[in-house]
Amino acid sequence: MNVEWYVVLSSLLFAVGAMGILVRRSPIVILLCLELMLNAGNLALVAFSRMVGNQQGQVFAIVVMVVAACEVVVGLGLIVALFRRKLPLDVDALRELRG
């Protein structure tokens, strides 16, 4: 298969994730969208890795997964903390850092 298809799919996934971050207000969905964007990136990395013919891109993809796992830990931790403090689970309501 041609590498273009993979890249197109990856771009679509990335665009969907980015759109989700921009339009959704629930922090959980935003986290999901972030994962989507990261994995879109992973897909592109792996596709290019295959195209070039070495394994460096795949190694990178694994590193990105590790980072994504860490990020989910932090993000979910934040959400749990919000929930415990009975704060609204709505990112637009949390705008105390307004300039």
Binding site: I21, I30, R95, L97, G99
Partner: protein
């Protein structure tokens, strides 16, 4: 030991005295401070004598030595050593300074006894002696400037010694500011010398100057004029003299030492020291001579109208320094220095006697209140009279020989200098009048209440403590004169100091009688042998003719004063009425203070006000407020972006990255 070793000791002793009193003032009991302060100066005088003896043992033409301890500043092309220069001139100055200082320290030992600031006084006074010695012993222009600035500070500290008297602190500031004007002149002169000759060292400068400069070249004239600014400020010559009368706010021993005998003669020393340059710039030398002449005449007329005892003597100091400046500027170096020495004796003595009288008057200085002290204080009166006789150049006193030696030299040079000699004789007439005006108003007559009190109870009159300048009552705490005063009749140290000076004032002239003795000039002349003017010598006959004229004028002046203030005391009042403008001119000191106020102070204030009101408001504030507006406006713009919506930030991030990606894509294709 060599002469320079003695010279280093001369410098070291007063410095040690000053520092040990300043640091140990808690440990040293009051009377001991006087001893700790006086002894080093006496020892320094002894070292000065040893220095002289050492020099006398050498060939007259080889009596100059330079010595340095270490490098003061040594950087690219600049090599300044902490060096001294010992020759006849500096030895002479060291002897005058330490000799008179020893006696004045002794006098202060009694005079300042009841003052709360006894330690401080002696520490300052020793510091002053150290600075003055540094000034006269310095071996290059840099150390000269250091000493010059140090004496300026010492003078400031001692004028403002009674620091809770506002009149005294103000006078101190005035003296300091005017002296700094002089310092600037001196510093600029030193810069110019370095630029032209590449060295600060006396020996090198005076050796190179005749080779580098042609006569009356503008650079050497500029150097000399700048040196004169320094000399005039320090020596209270027109128009930088206004600080000296105000400096009389300081304690009387200070007036005696700093503002009569030593510091104010620094300008004379400077001109004598740099005579090589002045020979190359005859125009500058003539300007100096005319300024000296003008000062001696103007100060003489002012002194006649003053009623404050110390201020009148201060104006006479200005006038006498006018003679010295005129002398050393026309080439009468040894003569000018001779007058410097005799003046140090009789003027210090006059101030000491005046201090004694002022003590008896409970600090009042107005001669209108004084009379009859001949009956109340015989010893002080006799010495006051001796000082006055010497000041008025009465025949056979010291002032008689020294003043006339300058005028005889001026006459011998001929030309316009003859007119200077005539002006000098007019000044001598004025001197005799104003001096004996003081004598006739203070000594004879019925005793004033204070003198009466002294005669009856043998105790000093203690009125309420009064500031003599403003007539305001003041404290007797620290920072003011103490409640108790001391007069020579009741204080041994004061009497001894005055007696020794009285002896000097009477007989110091005998070392230099034309045709008879020639001690001083023979010693000093080799130091000035490189000046072409050292060829000029008035003949002995001319000198005696000058002495005769001088003596006659002096007696005539004294007789005039006697006529005016004893025989027909209504005459001065008549003069005051008839010649009111002249009288007011003299009483108001020729309006020099007002003139300086108008020409310098007010324009400076106006510039300051302009800077404050216009420049500050428009330019400085404009810049500051403008900057603030720009930063604030920028902040306000950026705040809009900082909305607090997380997705807003995300959008910015995405748009930004998309923009960057687009840019790189476009630029790579």
């Amino acid at each position: 030991m060599s002469a320079t070793t003695w010279a280093w000791l001369v410098l070291l002793l007063p410095l040690l005295g000053s520092i040990s009193i300043a640091l140990g003032f808690r440990a040293i009991p009051a009377r001991a401070a006087g001893i700790v302060g006086t002894a080093p100066i006496g020892l320094a005088f002894a070292c000065g004598v040893a220095m002289l003896a050492n020099l006398l043992g050498q060939d007259p033409d080889a009596r100059h030595h330079a010595s340095s301890l270490w490098d003061y500043a040594s950087v690219a092309g600049l090599d300044i050593k902490l060096g001294i220069y010992v020759d006849q001139l500096s030895t002479f100055m060291v002897l005058v300074v330490t000799g008179v200082s020893t006696l004045i320290h002794l006098y202060s030992f009694g005079y300042m006894q009841s003052d709360e600031g006894y330690h401080r006084f002696f520490s300052y006074l020793n510091f002053f002696v150290f600075s003055m010695l540094l000034l006269v012993l310095a071996g290059n222009f840099v150390l000269l400037i250091v000493g010059w600035a140090f004496v300026g500070f010492a003078s400031y500290a001692l004028i403002s010694f009674w620091y809770r008297r506002t009149t005294a602190t103000r006078a101190g500031m005035k003296a300091f500011v005017i002296n700094v004007v002089g310092d600037i002149g001196l510093v600029l002169a030193a810069f110019l010398i370095f630029r032209e000759l590449g060295t600060f060292d006396y020996g090198a400068v005076f050796a190179k100057a005749p080779e580098v400069f042609s006569t009356n070249e503008w650079t050497v004239t500029a150097i000399c004029l700048l040196l004169l600014v320094g000399a005039f400020a320090k020596s209270a010559q027109l128009p930088l003299h206004t600080w000296l009368p105000d400096a009389m706010e300081g304690p009387t021993p200070v007036s005696s030492l700093i503002h009569a005998a030593t510091m104010v003669t620094a300008g004379v020393y400077l001109i004598a020291r740099t005579h090589v340059l002045f020979v190359l710039a005859p125009t500058a030398a003539d300007i100096a001579a005319f300024t000296g002449l003008a000062t001696l005449l103007v100060a003489g007329t002012i002194a006649i109208a003053q009623t404050d005892l110390k201020r009148a003597i201060a104006y006479s100091t200005m006038s006498q320094i006018g003679y010295m400046v005129m002398g050393v500027s026309i080439g009468a170096y040894a003569q000018g220095l001779f007058h410097l020495m005799t003046h140090a004796f009789f003027k210090a003595l006059l101030f000491m006697a005046a201090g004694s009288i002022i003590s008896a008057m409970a600090n009042r200085q107005d001669i209108d209140r004084m009379s009859g002290f001949w009956k109340a204080m015989r010893f002080t009166s006799v010495l006051f009279l001796i000082g006055s006789l010497a000041l008025a150049a009465f025949p056979l006193t010291s002032g008689f020989f020294s003043k006339d030696s300058i005028l005889a030299f001026a006459e011998a040079r001929g030309g316009m200098y003859t007119w200077m000699a005539i002006g000098g004789y007019v000044g001598a007439f004025l001197t005799a009048i104003y001096t004996f005006r003081l004598v006739f108003r203070v000594l004879p007559g019925d005793p004033c209440p204070e003198a009466e009190h002294l005669i009856e109870s043998d105790e000093l009159y203690h009125g309420p403590p009064i500031n003599p300048a403003t007539e305001e009552e003041e404290d007797t705490e620290v920072g003011f004169p103490g409640a108790h005063h001391h007069i020579a009749e009741q204080s041994k140290p004061m009497a001894v100091a005055m007696a020794v000076l009285g002896f000097g004032a009477l007989f110091a002239g005998l070392i230099q009688i034309p045709g008879v003795t020639d001690v001083l000039f023979k010693f000093l002349d080799p130091a000035f042998a490189n000046s072409p003017l050292s060829e000029v010598h008035p003949s002995v006959g001319a000198e005696w003719r000058g002495l005769a004229i001088g003596g006659l004028i002096s007696i005539l002046g004294i007789a005039t004063a006697w006529l005016l203030w004893v025989r027909q005391p209504e005459l001065p009042a008549l003069f005051r009425e008839r010649l009111r403008p002249v009288y007011l001119l003299c009483l108001d000191k020729w309006y020099f203070d007002e003139g300086i106020d108008l020409l310098v102070v007010r324009p400076a204030l106006a510039i300051g006000r302009f800077a404050n009101r216009t420049f500050e408001r428009l330019v400085v504030d404009g810049l500051v407020i403008g900057t603030e507006d720009v930063v604030g406006g920028g902040g306000r713009l950026v705040r809009i972006v900082q909305s607090g919506y997380v997705r807003g930030y995300a959008l910015l991030l995405i748009v930004g990255f998309a923009g960057l990606a687009l840019y790189f894509l476009l630029s790579s294709s």
